[in-house]
């Protein structure tokens, strides 16, 4: 067991280092601004006194590395400074919105994961038949469509024409869970469509890979029934790639949510980020980017660790 633990710890360390480097990039990118934040906010016409006051207020007079460590230290404790536009603490706006985004992503994931794995195994079993081809064309189409295309199609047919679901996914904390699930059904469905297609293709590929391996052929040759080949020989070996597929797609879900949130006017962190980018509200942009990057890295890390845990071969690297 000690072996596994040290490998996982190593991965975690690596992830932490990556996150640190990314935080430097996110902080440093704003430093690359022509002039500085004060100049960018106040514009070209600002007087020297105004600029100086603004710099004083934002603490821009100190050296960049010192400000970086301050920012990072505060960020770790959940304090991202104040928004340049509203002067509110950034963390206040982010907390509820991030919870909303996670809710939406989780909602989509709970529907998507079982469906995708089931369908992926199915098309892998019936590979190269007409159903496989049709599934291939449909999933390719779904992957290739921008999220807003799928979103608006769903709005047109399921909200405007038939009125089954609300077109705008406005939610607040006072709503009951059922209400929330109903309101967010269309955005969740949009993401499900994209993610199921991705996951299905990846599951299919990894299962087909396994079905070609010698021990599956051996099992067939000694007369094991088809379902038993799947349950006893293929599935235990398939967990590693499937867990990987799921984690990677969850990572996609959390970032792909930005466009979907804008389409459905959903009060999530993605919309906050887009608003902040248009208003050039840098503290909010930095905070949102850091949160997205951290989630992304965490889920990728989960994919790594999951595949190590379920695949004994990876525990003993050559």
């Amino acid at each position: 067991m000690g072996d596994i633990l040290s490998i996982i710890l190593k991965r975690l360390g690596l992830g932490l280092v990556t996150l640190l480097v990314i935080s430097i990039i996110i902080f440093g990118a704003v430093e690359l601004l022509p002039g500085d934040i004060a100049q960018a906010v106040l514009g070209q016409g600002a007087t020297e006194e105004n600029l100086a006051a603004m710099r004083e207020q934002l603490g821009l007079n100190r050296a960049a590395p010192i400000r970086y460590f301050e920012w990072l230290g505060n960020a770790v404790t959940g304090d991202f400074g104040r928004s340049l536009v509203s002067q509110q603490p950034v963390s206040e706006a982010i907390t509820t919105r991030f919870a909303n985004t996670l809710f939406l992503a989780l909602y989509a994931a709970i529907i998507a994961v079982p469906v995708a794995i089931f369908l992926g195994v199915l098309v892998a079993l019936y590979r190269n038949t007409v159903f496989d081809r049709v599934a291939n064309v449909i999933t390719l189409t779904s992957i290739s469509s921008p999220e807003f295309f799928l979103g608006y199609i769903l709005i047109l047919f399921l909200a405007v024409k038939t009125g089954y679901f609300p077109a705008i996914a406005k939610i607040d904390d006072d709503m009951s869970l059922i209400d929330k699930l109903d309101r967010t059904f269309l955005p969740a469905l949009t993401m499900v469509l994209v993610v199921v297609a991705h996951m299905m293709r990846m599951t299919r590929a990894s299962i087909i890979n396994l079905l070609a391996s010698p021990y599956v052929e051996m099992a067939r040759l000694k007369g094991v029934p088809a379902w038993k080949v799947i349950v006893k020989h293929t599935l235990p070996n398939a967990w590693a790639p499937v867990i990987n597929v799921v984690a990677l797609n969850l990572a996609y879900l959390v970032t792909g949510v930005v466009l979907v949130e804008v389409v459905f006017v959903y009060p999530g962190i993605g919309q906050l980020l887009v608003d902040a980018v248009t208003k050039r509200d840098f503290p909010v942009v930095q905070a949102c980017c850091l949160i997205f990057a951290a989630t992304f890295i965490l889920l990728n890390l989960a994919a790594d660790v999951g595949s190590i845990l379920t695949n004994p071969r990876l525990r003993h690297p050559k």
Partner: protein, 354 residues
């Protein structure tokens, strides 16, 4: 029960029976699934749903026909060796090539094809379609059809430029890293690891918030975000080629690195790189469309599909499909490129196995 419904079911059931009788297994499976689906659709949605099934089936049949004739056209037109590959291509690949061809034509000849200029206001806002305007007017009264034609030039052109730049940077650096190896390789690979661990849309938003949105920065930013993917592929493909004996021979001959990359490694790693170019284009195109949709891409009044969707999005709530047309144009091109790439990947993997 009216004649349309009776005729519809008679047709699908009759066609599937015919297919079964003539032992066309694939065709039978397809037609019979269509029959079952339309039973369910008919019960749930009534006649309207059946009409949409009919229209959809007709559209699919029509595009299959178009792809078939375009493929045959290419077989006749192309030189012998290419024609041979073309003849075995699946219909989806023919469809993809046809769509790419159409987009190229409308992009290149946009000013000739489009009846009005892209920023020309010709009627009132959201005017419905009439004999002058094929698809009606947008939120400022500009001709939707002309703007879609011009969009083929602007949106696709920008995505293509960014892809080419990303590819040039990524492939050069990747092949160079594979050839030289050592510390430079390590350094570049670590930089690439970091860039790839930031989600691309988020990274693009961060960079665009800082450098502002004009076409030039857009291209550079997207190229920087997508070059690492190309780098990884070029490095791994190049790594397999570098260990070959003929590279050793060329090195002993005293050839320089640049010569090795250009004359020995690149020709031997072209196939996967070309397929990657197609995939990369799809990613870049979707990112450009997404950014424009968010209002951070190509700026008005330039016609651009992503921002056209957003500007006309209010029409959706009146049950109009106008905003879906530019979105569909984006999806169609991406699907088409994916179909062609799928076929190319299949060909290259099939050749490897033999």
């Amino acid at each position: 029960m009216n004649y349309f419904i009776i005729g519809f079911y008679a047709l699908v059931i009759g066609a599937s029976s015919m297919a079964a009788f003539y032992q066309k297994r694939t065709l039978f499976l397809l037609l019979f699934s269509l029959t079952l689906v339309s039973f369910i659709m008919g019960i749930v949605g009534g006649e309207a749903m059946l009409w949409s099934v009919t229209i959809l089936a007709g559209l699919i049949a029509f595009s299959a026909g178009v792809s078939f004739s375009f493929r045959e056209f290419l077989v006749i037109l192309l030189p012998a060796d290419l024609a041979k590959a073309m003849r075995t291509a699946p219909l989806t690949a023919g469809f993809g090539l046809f769509v790419i061809f159409t987009y190229t034509i409308s992009g290149v000849f946009a000013p000739i094809i489009a009846p009005y200029g892209e920023a020309e206001v010709i009627s009132s806002a959201f005017a419905p379609a009439d004999e002058n305007m094929l698809l009606g007017a947008d939120q400022l009264g500009r001709d939707m059809f002309s703007r879609i034609i011009y969009g083929a030039r602007n949106t696709v052109g920008l995505a293509l430029l960014a892809t080419i730049l990303a590819f040039a940077m990524g492939a050069t650096a990747g092949l160079y890293a594979a050839t030289v190896g050592g510390k430079l390789d390590q350094l570049l690979s670590r930089i690439v690891d970091v860039i790839m661990s930031i989600p691309s849309l988020i990274f693009a938003l961060l960079l665009l918030s800082i450098f502002g949105t004009n076409t030039f920065t857009l291209i550079i930013v997207i190229a920087i975000i997508y070059a690492p993917r190309v780098f990884r592929l070029a490095r791994s493909v190049g790594g397999n080629v570098v260990v070959m004996d003929y590279i050793e021979a060329a090195k002993l001959r005293g050839e320089g690195n640049w010569y090795l990359i250009r004359k020995e490694i690149l020709p031997n790693s072209a196939a996967p790189l070309i397929a990657e170019f197609g995939l990369e284009f799809c990613f870049v195109f979707l990112l450009v469309a997404g950014l424009s949709f968010l209002g951070l891409g190509i700026q008005p009044p330039t016609a651009d599909w992503g921002s056209m969707v957003r500007e006309n999005a209010t029409l959706i709530s009146f049950g109009e499909i106008t905003p879906l047309i530019p979105a569909g144009a984006i999806a169609l091109l991406t699907v088409a490129v994916n179909f062609v790439v799928d076929w190319m990947l299949f060909m290259s993997s099939g050749l490897k196995e033999q």
